[in-house]
């Protein structure tokens, strides 16, 4: 391999590891995506990309971090792929195409033109193809686009590593056997397919954000949403999803008190909200032109993120956004949130009317949060004993420990 100019003379091992991690965020998906395009071999692409990181971890501490870390990694990965394919005596064309790959392909951000489709975008759309089961989509995206090691994905998704390895192998085989194309759909097909991609990203985010979730999921989802937004700057719903994730993500450090108890929005210390994330979210939401489902959710999240205190929250705007969202995507949970918003905007009686309507269909039966909402509205009407009883009822039915504790605290306060 050609030696490249050295930027830092022999950094310590830790600094080199950090440099590898930093370079891999940008370079890993790019390398995997490019190698898949040329070789059509998913497992090979992932192995070679992983290998390039391993080699970097060995070499950078002594050789120094190269001037172009992404290009260096791409070169190592490409050479590794050539070696493997030579041994496997595959078609000459693939070898030829590989040899032509320049390390510059792993350089940060060449402009994304109208005609040039970024390989990473192909990769995301292929991993999120509707002909793959949703669980397979999530696992494959984490592995292939984000480069999360299989063992970590297995831990995050609560299965054994061997099960996850099998699942990923099956998904890759299925892509080849079913004839799932390595392509970004165009025209009306793009409009149809994009929501499916966004759903995978948002599922990833909520997996990390839920009370007992793994924060690493949320971090990866935000990174992915940023990437997708950069690759598809004209897609309003992508910008909206990014904004939505950032607004929610900004509260990650404020959501728990010192004892680890979950804090509702109005009890959080707003000084602990991540102002940089909120600012980034506001820039993203500024580009939202279309009233899609993520746009409305992002606008609601923006109202919360920009309120100086809970009392200053613009509830009428939030209530109107929920009205629109309930029209666009009717669901029991949105109907429930709509009742909450109206309860704050127009008083608990208004909230209870909408809550009754939301529950009438039976879609909220056995959903403890609906009982908690009722408890809160009843408490604000002044019936403290009844509210305390309802909070206990909700606590008994809730799945997460952190949520149960929070609900029981409310019950105790009201019973005092």
């Amino acid at each position: 391999m050609q030696r490249r100019p050295v930027r830092n003379p022999a950094p310590a091992g830790a600094a080199a590891a950090e440099a590898v991690a930093e370079a891999s965020v940008e370079a890993y998906p790019r390398i995997v995506a490019t190698l898949i395009r040329v070789t059509g071999d998913w497992a090979l692409a992932e192995d070679c990309a992983q290998e390039s990181l391993t080699v970097a971890l060995e070499r950078w501490p002594t050789d120094g971090v190269p001037a172009n870390p992404g290009g260096w990694l791409m070169t190592v990965a490409r050479n590794r792929a050539i070696d493997v394919l030579r041994r496997a005596t595959v078609e000459r064309r693939k070898l030829h195409d590989l040899a032509l790959l320049t390390p510059d392909e792993a350089q940060p951000e060449p402009e994304v033109g109208q005609d040039v489709v970024d390989d990473r975008l192909r990769l995301i759309f292929t991993c999120c193809h509707p002909a793959l089961a949703i669980e397979a989509r999530v696992a494959l995206t984490l592995r292939t686009v984000c480069g999360v090691p299989t063992a970590d994905i297995a831990r995050l998704l609560l299965v054994s590593e061997s099960t996850m390895t099998r699942r990923l192998t099956r998904a890759r085989t299925r892509i080849a056997q079913a004839g799932i194309p390595y392509r970004v759909p165009s025209g009306p097909a793009l409009t149809e397919r994009l929501p499916g991609v966004l759903a995978v990203l948002y599922l990833l985010f909520t997996r990390g954000y839920v009370p007992d979730g793994e924060p690493a999921f949320a971090d990866e989802a935000v990174r992915l949403a940023r990437l997708l937004d950069r690759l598809m700057p004209d897609q309003s719903e992508v910008a909206a999803l990014l904004a939505l994730c950032l607004f929610q993500h900004s509260r990650r450090d404020a959501r728990r008190d010192a004892a680890g108890n979950l804090l509702t929005l109005e009890r959080q210390d707003r000084d602990r909200w991540d102002r940089a994330a909120i600012a980034e979210g506001l820039v993203a939401i500024d580009r939202v032109r279309h009233d899609g489902p993520y746009a409305w959710q992002a606008r609601i999240a923006a109202c919360h993120a920009t309120a100086a205190s809970a009392d200053e929250t613009d509830w009428p705007t939030i209530a109107r956004a929920y009205d629109a969202l309930a029209d666009l995507r009717p669901s029991p949970v949105i109907a429930l949130n709509r009742a909450v918003a109206h309860g704050y905007a127009y008083g608990p009686a208004a909230g209870l009317v909408l809550l009754d309507a939301a529950r009438a269909g039976g879609g909220l039966d056995g959903y403890p949060l609906a009982v908690a909402v009722q408890a809160d509205l009843v408490a604000r009407q002044g019936d403290r004993p009844r509210a305390a009883g309802l909070f206990r009822e909700a606590a008994a039915a809730v799945g997460s420990t952190a949520e149960r504790r929070a609900l029981l605290d409310r019950a105790d306060e009201l019973a005092r």
Binding site: A131, A176, Q177, A178, G179, I180, P181, R183, P185, A189
Partner: protein
């Protein structure tokens, strides 16, 4: 890629009242574009005969090998660039709404 498209009945067909696409048009359109190679409609499953050989003995029995509420009522052999094109062909078939379609690629035995 070649796909065998099984045309199946479904216990929960589409309730959309708009008119179903015309099957003759669908056949003509996809034949002319080379995306449909052949296809046909099956007689009722009650006309099926099952054949097995066990220990050298021929066993012939009446009916399909499995009784199910959803049955295969026909097939089309498609030749498409990839799954996305096959899905586009399938979505405009009237039975996508009146029943369901299963796209089965052929095994690649070249490796």
């Amino acid at each position: 890629m070649k796909y065998m498209m099984f045309v199946c009945s479904d216990t929960q067909p589409d309730t959309d009242p708009t008119e179903l696409p015309d099957i003759e048009k669908w056949v003509a359109e996809n034949d002319s574009r080379g995306r449909r190679l052949t296809g046909n409609v099956f007689a009722s499953p009650s006309a099926a005969t099952t054949v097995r050989v066990r220990d050298g003995e021929l066993l012939v029995s009446e009916g399909p090998f499995a009784e199910t509420a959803e049955v295969i009522v026909g097939f089309d052999l498609l030749d498409c660039a990839d799954l996305d094109e096959a899905i586009e062909v399938a979505r405009t078939h009237p039975m996508a709404r009146n029943g369901r379609l299963e796209l089965r690629p052929f095994a690649d035995l070249s490796d």
